[in-house]
Subunit: 370 residues, 2 copies
């Protein structure tokens, strides 16, 4: 993995990541395709929207259809007909979200499948073997992801175990096109974040992720942690903030030096009739849109807004039609793609601060927030 910084403004960076099978520009948003599909969208549509990297989930693909099956079908990219790049999350976050259903030791984690209750034991080495088989370009280390309200003792243990597991992840060889990315833990505790960063940097990686954020802590604490932790990570390597988030969170994190993002919100909210617009979020089920022949967002140049009115999309939601989810998920991803492209351009032109201020003012004062 190569990373070139093309411009900075304060801590914010505009860059380009090069990988053996392709490249992408940063700051970058990665749509989430948990089960080897970004819910409701075709690979062509993702490309049309300008996305070059999608995120999929090793935990889910391991359970169904099975990582060996994905490998035997030519790997994740071929399986889902995606000619861009992919990143797989290790499953740490998903497994630790199972709460009462897991048993954790230094050796690995035992959990029960959310699909059928079957019991599984996964060590860091297994996570690597699974992700090797799936074949994404970027592969996340297996980490221990404690709850957002964990005390120092819990965080300390998680940081230590995450580092020990990282060492074991690193000992497994991946495919030649794959890059392993470590995850920094430590909750919102600065000392723990620093310790996790120190333990990780000892090992030398091409990119670094901040995990264990956006897991229930306050927004201010999340941003403080990003602001504190980002500069602990090498300037010349991409920084990835996992699972964040809302548009304003992303811009705040870009401002603090983050380069990569993923989040289920644009598609999940889209399926639930919530659309992002340049003037704030709207709920397309709202009766106010019943006779509104304007597009979801007049500033969106996607097929969603060239073709369809709010009145029509509302009708589709009220009628339980698949196209409702399709159009709104597409639109929300178009919103994210445009926001990232505009943010990048603004950094390169040294006007990110004013871009961000204007963007947020418009979001909050559009008068149509619902």
């Amino acid at each position: 993995m190569k990373f070139k910084i093309e411009g900075t403004e304060g801590a914010a960076r505009a860059g380009a990541v090069e990988l053996p099978r392709g490249s992408f520009l940063t700051p970058a948003f990665m749509p989430v395709g948990t089960q080897a599909t970004v819910k409701g969208l075709s690979p062509e549509e993702l490309r049309e929207l300008g996305f070059r990297v999608i995120l999929s989930n090793a935990y889910h693909l391991y359970l169904r259809p099975g990582h060996e099956l994905v490998e035997s079908m030519g790997g994740l990219h071929k399986f889902m007909a995606w000619d861009g790049l992919a990143l797989t999350d290790s499953g740490g976050y998903q497994i630790f979200s199972l709460k009462g259903m897991i048993k954790l030791t230094d050796e690995g984690v035992t959990f029960k499948s959310h699909l059928d209750g079957s019991s599984h034991f996964i060590r860091p080495e297994d996570s690597m073997a699974i992700q090797r088989a799936i074949g994404a370009d970027m592969v996340m280390a297996l980490d221990e992801c404690p709850p957002g309200d964990s005390d120092r003792i819990k965080l300390e243990a998680a940081v230590a175990r995450t580092a020990a597991w990282l060492r074991r992840c690193r000992s497994v060889s991946l495919k030649s096109h794959q890059t392993l990315i470590p995850i920094i833990q430590g909750g919102t505790d600065r000392e723990m974040r620093r310790r996790s960063a120190d333990l990780t940097l000892e090992m030398d990686f091409d990119a670094h992720a901040l995990g264990g954020l956006s897991v229930g802590e306050e927004r201010g604490a999340m941003l403080d942690t990003v602001e504190f932790a980002a500069p602990l990570l090498p300037h010349d390597k991409p920084r990835y903030l996992m699972g964040v988030g809302m548009p304003s969170d992303i811009l705040d994190a870009v401002e603090r030096g983050i380069d990569m993002f993923d989040c289920v919100l644009p598609t999940r909210m889209g399926r639930n009739a919530a659309a992002f617009t340049s003037r704030g979020r709207i709920n397309l089920r709202n009766a106010a849109h019943a006779r509104d022949d304007s597009p979801i967002d007049p500033e969106c140049d996607g097929a969603c807004c060239r073709n369809f009115s709010r009145a029509y999309v509302r009708h589709l939601f009220m009628s339980g039609e698949i196209m409702a989810a399709r159009i709104t998920s597409f639109h929300n991803l178009a919103f994210y793609a445009r926001m990232m492209a505009l943010a990048r351009k603004a950094i390169l032109e040294n006007r990110f601060a004013s871009f961000k201020r204007d963007f947020e003012a418009k979001q909050n004062n559009g008068g149509v927030n619902e």
Copy 2:
């Protein structure tokens, strides 16, 4: 509406229909978009598949979002961003499917909405006003559609009422681009079909539909009725067999002189994992496809089969993903589009009989029927 017959083979015809806002080739299949959307597919995809006419439903659009709303949004085409042609069913079939929930008089029909139980009274004149507002290119008369097992007395009454209502439908002026199409009733009773045809032909229309078939009667009785009734209708005008059907039914009806078809099966079955292929129907949830990296149908040249394997689509179905329905509905409509295009070409080249024989032999002997 103009109709030109470009070739015949026996009773089968290949033609072209010209309407003020566009034209289409026959025999033609019209995908069903009951609620102003063909479930799961975008207008662009329908066009890409070669469809030029879609069917929507006045009954459903009247109840939700309301025909006045559709009209105020510029009519059905603009509302759903469909630049092709559209036909609306009057709602007769849907209303009479409500069974116990209707009350019928010569004046009109009172029914309770399937959405909220609200009571509605619709006369033939109302159906025309509704369809006028919706604005489809072809508009179906409001008919009485009795159950498939109705006795002579019931059929006789339905035929008489359908003709009386047709006269009232005809008295309502539509928009200049709209064509009214009458529906011949009479069940599988030849005398009743003849009477219904006679009563209809007195009035002189540009196209004719056969209704009240594929409503529970045996397949043989349905085909016998088509074979008997099609020649009762003018040779030089399009004949439309409503709600039929399976691929083999369609080819059998083309052979008997039918030009237009609609059916929910390709999309409904697609959503339920049933895929039409050149070698018979398959169920994509079947474990046999779990590791099958071949396309749904190797003879399909759609994006569905260029991009995705059976193994992948099965995974999407097992995972409850929207893309499963999207891909399989798209594929099934691609199958129907190709079948219609091949049938038309075969008629023009005077080899429809052998095309049909080969097509059906392959369907039945593919060895993969499930």
